[in-house]
Symmetry: C3
Subunit: 106 residues, 3 copies
């Protein structure tokens, strides 16, 4: 079994969770925060059989499209002052796949 930890934008979390659930995958959602932009995002925990990892990645790619957006960066990030909004890439997912040694439902 593998534990997939997928960090997605807060706005994409609902759509991604629904797409995974409809494909039969179980999902647990954690409200998290990005360290750099200090904006709310979401980390989804998805425990799946080893053979299902690629299918989950396919669903993530489709449901969490990467796109460019203008965001207000907190003034004191890295000490410089950003009076203008900064164009950063948002959307998409950052995904870590970890091995699960045991899965139990005591």
């Amino acid at each position: 079994m593998k534990m997939i930890m997928a960090i997605v934008q807060a706005d994409d979390a609902h759509k991604v969770t629904q797409a995974l659930n409809e494909a039969g995958y179980r999902v647990t959602r954690m409200a998290t925060q990005g360290g750099w932009l200090r904006r709310e995002n979401a980390t989804l925990l998805v425990g799946v059989e080893d053979t299902r990892v690629d299918d989950v990645l396919r669903i993530l790619r489709k449901a969490a499209q990467r796109r460019m957006a203008y965001v207000n960066v907190p003034g004191e990030v890295m000490g410089a002052y950003h009076p203008q909004p900064l164009e950063v890439e948002v959307g998409g997912a950052t995904v870590f796949v970890l091995n699960v040694e045991r899965f139990e439902r005591p």
Copy 2:
């Protein structure tokens, strides 16, 4: 060392944490949400020596009893409308055991 990630019902989280603490185990609690029923639940992180995993599972089984309950399922889950409450199994724990390569207290 192993990292035990135990997803339990929100109502059981306090009782489970206390039982683990009283047995000498350290616990970190995360407020999480189920993807399917969209209800609050809790994910407990418990880092333990390899030989202690079965003892933690025993405590989880005892403190988080599985039981049937009626819940209101959000109307648009999977597109169908559920006017009546649905009987689902609640309680219990969903447990993932991951390997910890290093444990440090810098």
Copy 3:
């Protein structure tokens, strides 16, 4: 790749995250709670290349100093009543390093 899970005091989370970001590390922050003192703390997720783990530990040691403090312990912990504040060690970090089998940005 490794996933570093660092549990730090809530008061230290911002300073630690900034120090890691300024060193070029990506950080995701989760608001968590200690099981024993039931106080807010923070769990930081930092996915890094294998060779960078020691550098992250060095930054954690510097930014999250361990120190003694008086805290009010919830009355019913372990059944005993603590009328006086208890001196416990706070600060510092509890760090788990887990192996990441795959890292993807679908």
